[in-house]
Symmetry: C2
Subunit: 228 residues, 2 copies
Amino acid sequence: MIEHDGTMTTSPTPRRAGRPPRTSRAQIVAAARKIIDTEGWEKLTLRRLAAQLGIGTTTLYHHVRDREDLLILLINDVVEQHPLSDVPTEPRDRIVAAATTMRDALAAAPWAAEVLATDGFLARVGPGAITLVETIVAAATEYGCTHEQAVRVFRSLWYFTVGEIVVRTRTARRPKDFRFAALGDLDPATHPQLVAIGDELWQRVSAGDHYEESLRAFVDGLLAQAIG
Amino acid sequence: MIEHDGTMTTSPTPRRAGRPPRTSRAQIVAAARKIIDTEGWEKLTLRRLAAQLGIGTTTLYHHVRDREDLLILLINDVVEQHPLSDVPTEPRDRIVAAATTMRDALAAAPWAAEVLATDGFLARVGPGAITLVETIVAAATEYGCTHEQAVRVFRSLWYFTVGEIVVRTRTARRPKDFRFAALGDLDPATHPQLVAIGDELWQRVSAGDHYEESLRAFVDGLLAQAIG
DNA sequence: ACCTGAACACCGTTCAAGT
DNA sequence: ACCTGAACACCGTTCAAGT
């Protein structure tokens, strides 16, 4: 059956009776990562993955519930590889560090945007991600938030992070000759500021990474609103 | 050919020579909305849409570039139906009003989450959405932001809004018996705050709509960071 | 207990041809 | 200029059967 605890079935520990498995979840994750790295994540299908593993497609269904389960498995793998290091003592900085770690892990998984837009994601996150949630909630509480306020702080930052990842992923895939829009072609009478800004500045700002700076503004705003 | 200006081909205005079209973009949008409303948005495929219109599937490709183009067409339609009303005079409130309008329009389009996670979205938004962008950027400028800061303010709020929509959509589709996670089952030694919060409070806070409140905190934080 | 091929029920998109 | 059916090249998932 499916081990949701991530147990590797190649473990030498004696298991339930029956035919021993030839395929482990660890092997599946490794093969999936190989496909993603060499062919691109869009090419990751259950059929290809089975072929890569040299097994029948339907065999995969003994190890993952469905395609979504596979993607979440991969996300948890990536999060596990991005541990929170150098935890700051100041609660405010700790929130920023934990959220930035979440962002960096998701940014390293180009398929995150698709997973985040599907059902039941938060229900299946692994221990690594849960620890980041605890870190943020605990820091907010330490700062003086009630439990309810702390949960709201987490959710707000989670929305911001998910949005940044979704938009970032889309932008990265964008063809080179892409232009946000012809801002210069807009009517200056109705859109004076966008015309004044122009395509060049817009694109330059969009290309920059201002996640942490905006995150800090958000944290400050949320904590000020909660504590006063 | 494809009219990206949204011109209805049923218009009585004389058009380029040739066989007159039997299908208009307006008809396509109407048929798509009917499928979404009656069968659910997941059932909206090009094949079904063509069947609904009583035309061949391939005929659709004369009116929309591809599936993504269709979805963006639908988004623009929804945004057009959610105009920004009662524009506040105070810049800060104007930003909040414009962002909330964006959110409300996207929340009314259950397929928005998928579109937002695909390529080239911002490049194809219609006039209604562009006006909301101008409103936010202009208000930030009026408050004292430079153009660069104003663009950053918009992008930050856009991330937050996209994330809220993506997470909200997923949560809405979630089966009734869903539980975020068994927070009570976590080890109190490693996750004391999450255990203390518990499933009941977490779910209650998650179910609530705190978009505008958090948005206001974000706007305050961003403007304070920019202006000091 | 684990693995399998065949089959089911679909997709989006392209192409050459019709009116 | 507009419309079309057939075909291409796939999908995820289920099922009954094998070892």
